[in-house]
Symmetry: C2
Subunit: 142 residues, 2 copies
DNA sequence: ATAAAATAGTTGCAACACACAACTACTTCT
DNA sequence: AGAAGTAGTTGTGTGTTGCAACTATTTTAT
């Protein structure tokens, strides 16, 4: 049962990573003045430029009602714009306002900086291996 | 700026992993009949056998007030026992009841099984590398 | 063409998760 | 003995979430 032991090791190490990431996100949050869920939504909207509500909900794994409210808060904060799609008026198109874009860029920058720091703390000869390992693991999660 | 590109790659891949893990946890939850926070607490209590509230709160990165309430719910569900420490009566010792232990074992089993499955889907010659990579990354997060 | 089914989104509801601040009850330090 | 410190609980407010019921619109089937 050697495999069982190693699998537990894998579980444990992922658990530790999860915790670190949790702390990271918690710290991240304070900075941009938006809540956790809002922060995620902004990143997702910013990347897609223009998205519908359900697409957004799917990509974040949330119920569309939850998404609707989160977007609503973002609209109230002036970070996001919601418009009816003239093609099919059931849809709304969601996109960042100017101040939304600023927040988005700020998040992106901070995150990229943070990861650059992490990257630089990884020994040079191990870097490629780490990226490869994550790829493999991702597919193993299927 | 090659490093910047790779660091972004790292960020992206971790993001993807986070999402997978999130989905995993969500599925996990339903099974044991306890909430997300409760599930985490049970695992932590089960591992430590006997812990104080603040220790528990620290290990999960939560405020002690939050922890107090979560434990309270677990006590109400009959999964956890709370006793005054006779040595120092400021402390409470928290431990699993018999049914709590059952839930704990069930969670452990399910998780270990899941990770065994993941482990087996990793090519044999890549396994050691993956564990090593995670270790390195963990320290790089510092 | 029109009624029925499907789809996108919103709102009412109820529960959970969480932190800060103020509190009680103990213990330790001086 | 009194002051300071520590463990835990409770009050309060915010944010997150999903389900179910609803409206508005478009597509499909008769």
């Amino acid at each position: 049962m050697e495999d069982g032991v190693s699998a537990k090791e894998l579980r444990e190490i992922i658990r530790q990573l999860e915790r670190k990431l949790g702390i990271l996100e918690k710290n991240e949050m304070g900075c941009c003045g938006v809540s956790f869920a809002q922060c995620h939504a902004i990143v997702e909207i910013g990347r897609g430029k223009k998205v519908s509500l359900n697409l957004l909900a799917d990509s974040l794994g949330l119920d569309s009602s939850t998404m609707s409210r989160t977007v609503n808060n973002l609209v109230n904060n002036g970070l996001v714009q919601r418009e009816l799609d003239p093609e099919d008026r059931r849809y709304v198109t969601i996109q960042l306002t100017e101040s939304g874009k600023k927040v988005f860029q700020h998040i992106e920058e901070t995150m990229n900086n943070y990861f650059l720091g992490v990257w630089e703390r990884i020994p040079t000869d191990k870097r490629a291996q780490i990226l490869e390992s994550f790829q493999i693991l991702l597919t193993a999660f299927q």
